[in-house]
């Protein structure tokens, strides 16, 4: 898929922007705080309805204004589609509205139209960081790829929040009500676990392939789904039975500790190098390379499954990588149809690209090169 135009209105430091990106690589060069990341953030808002940088959506609205809006046109396999996402300040925070081809749509229908894979410097901490970050990778990719995954995720999270509140509310919470929430957790949780299992299996093959090419086959990277509730075989029936059984077994402990203890909200994604945990034993360099392989896998699996290349958003991340890794990454996602890259300096040895400078929210094209050289 490909973004053919992008229009911003009162988004962070952009009062107004009308931009026609090229297919292939679009590189934005500029000093800090000029609006490079804001531009990528706006594209991600159009794809996922969410910012990859902040949970405080009020920050997206330029100061002194009531609402921020991003719209854009994309070429997808089904034809061309116009999307928009508007964030409006309200007395209680913000409200978001989505539209597709001029018609208002719900978030669940908006998500998955324009798929994006983002890669930001914080991702380099994914392996050393908490499991929540790795679950976010799984949820982000699967929710874009499968509308029903998003529905199940929301159902699961709502039932979990209600169950938590019920556990907090009384020493002996209503057993029938607890059973209702557990039933929903099993139904939605089983679907999440099954989808995660399949995704990680596919991602493992891709990440392993990319990693082997970079390490010359000297090291073997493995991605492993580490469900909180183990099961024998990855079928809906086996997973559902294991989850239901585990929730029954955990019931007394959950009442005593007053928090939900078991289920896919505690899942993890394990990354291992030659069979050893990268978080525990990997060097900084090995962890970085593994994250690159994970991102290549995320991109490739989404591409394979949806039949369309997602947009690739690389925010200030190439500068965090040495030249070899940066080149290896771009070669790993070779099949990208369109990518947006920000950097403070023009990276070495970029493939064919259009290069723009951004200064105080003004874009200026400086080069369209067969092979841009560092300036």
């Amino acid at each position: 898929m490909r973004l053919s135009w992008l229009a911003l209105s009162n988004v962070r430091n952009y009062a107004a922007l009308d931009f026609h990106p090229a297919p292939g690589l679009n590189v934005f060069i500029g000093a800090n705080a000029q609006g490079k990341s804001n531009l990528l953030e706006a594209i991600s808002l159009l794809g996922t309805g969410k910012s990859f940088r902040t949970n405080r959506e009020a920050d997206l609205i330029a100061s002194g204004f009531q609402s921020a809006s991003v719209s854009g046109g994309a070429h997808v396999r089904a034809g061309s589609v116009n999307l928009s996402c508007t964030v409006t300040a309200t007395s209680r925070g913000t409200r978001k509205a989505y539209s597709a081809n001029g018609r208002p749509v719900r978030y669940a229908a908006f998500l998955g139209t324009l798929n994006v894979v983002t890669f930001v410097p914080a991702d380099l901490q994914l392996i050393a960081g908490a499991p929540s970050g790795r679950r976010r990778v799984l949820n982000g990719a699967l929710a874009q790829e499968q509308p029903l995954y998003y529905r199940d995720l929301v159902r699961y999270q709502k039932a979990l929040a209600q169950k938590s509140a019920l556990l907090r509310s009384a020493d002996e919470p209503d057993a029938d009500l607890m059973a209702v929430y557990n039933e929903t957790l099993v139904a939605a949780g089983t679907a999440l676990m099954l989808a995660r299992d399949r995704f990680v299996t596919a991602a493992n093959a891709e990440a392993g392939r990319a990693h082997a090419a970079w390490s010359g086959g000297r090291e073997t990277l493995e991605l492993r789904y580490e469900p909180n509730v183990p099961y024998e075989i990855p079928t809906g029936e086996a997973i559902g039975a294991a989850l239901a059984q585990r929730l029954r077994a955990a019931a007394a402990a959950e009442r005593a500790r007053r928090i939900p203890l078991a289920g896919p909200h505690r899942d993890d994604l394990g990354l291992l190098l030659d069979g050893r945990s990268l978080a525990a034993y990997g060097s900084q360099g090995q962890q970085r390379t593994a994250v690159l392989a994970l991102k290549v896998a995320e991109y490739t699996v989404m591409h394979q499954r949806t039949g369309e290349a997602p947009l690739l958003l690389l925010d200030d991340v190439l500068s965090e990588l040495d030249a070899d890794r940066a080149r290896a990454f771009l070669e790993g996602v070779e099949a990208y149809e369109q990518a947006f890259v920000t950097a403070t300096h023009l990276p070495h040895d970029l493939p064919q690209s259009r290069v723009f400078t951004i200064e105080a929210a003004v874009l200026r094209e400086i080069a369209s090169t067969a092979r841009a050289r560092a300036c």
Binding site: P147, K158, V180
Partner: protein, 202 residues
């Protein structure tokens, strides 16, 4: 929004009162107030009286907990209505929607909300015990649960069915799915998947 200092006190205060209403913002409130300013006094009077009458004369039916002027309400005393059917709704306004269909001829029970422990609403805060008592005394054959198809409505329906099925009554709920006159092309995946799950034999 008008600057409060620049506008007559009573006008500002009525704008303020209107904007407390659901779906009414300050701009709509101002339009309503300026509309009323241009209408005869009698019209304003009948509006004011109608608002007070709602508060003074309307109360809850002691059987179904719907809003009514007489207790029990006309729906509960109407002998033509089917006593074997009892429809459970979250709010009294839902009765109004169902009655517009003219397709339902049974009686109602208003829960007064939906179960949501996050908001401090458990079965004890709703008229669940009264529902169980009614099923015991009135002996309906079927309970139709007509809660909204959202997470809270779903949990409330499942909870009620756990309580009621052991009492020997059939518990059903409204179907999910495609709107009439709709088009498969325009249905979102989630609704379509629900409709597929709830398919029925022809």
């Amino acid at each position: 929004m008008p600057n409060p200092g620049s506008i007559a006190g009573p006008v500002a205060s009525l704008i303020n009162e209107f904007s407390k209403l659901p779906t009414v913002g300050p701009k709509t409130a101002a339009r309503l107030v300026f509309y009323l300013l241009n209408r005869p006094r009698s019209e304003a009077q009948s509006l004011a009286e109608a608002i007070l009458a709602v508060k003074d004369r309307v109360r809850l039916c002691s059987i179904c907990f719907s809003i009514t002027e007489e207790d029990p309400c006309p729906l509960c005393t109407d002998e033509r209505r089917d006593r074997s059917l009892l429809c459970v709704v979250a709010e009294a306004k839902d009765i109004y929607s169902l009655e517009r269909t003219s397709a339902y001829k049974g009686r109602y029970h208003v829960l007064g909300g939906l179960i949501s422990p996050m908001d401090g609403i458990g079965p004890g805060q709703l008229r669940v015990k009264q529902l169980v008592d009614r099923v015991g005394s009135e002996r309906p054959q079927e309970i139709v649960i007509a809660t909204n198809p959202n997470a809270e409505g779903e949990a409330t329906a499942l909870y009620l069915s756990r309580l009621l099925v052991p009492l020997g009554v059939t518990v059903t709920r409204l179907a999910y799915g495609l709107p009439i006159g709709g088009d498969l092309d325009y249905a979102d995946e989630v609704t379509l998947a629900k409709a597929l799950e709830g398919r029925r034999t022809l």
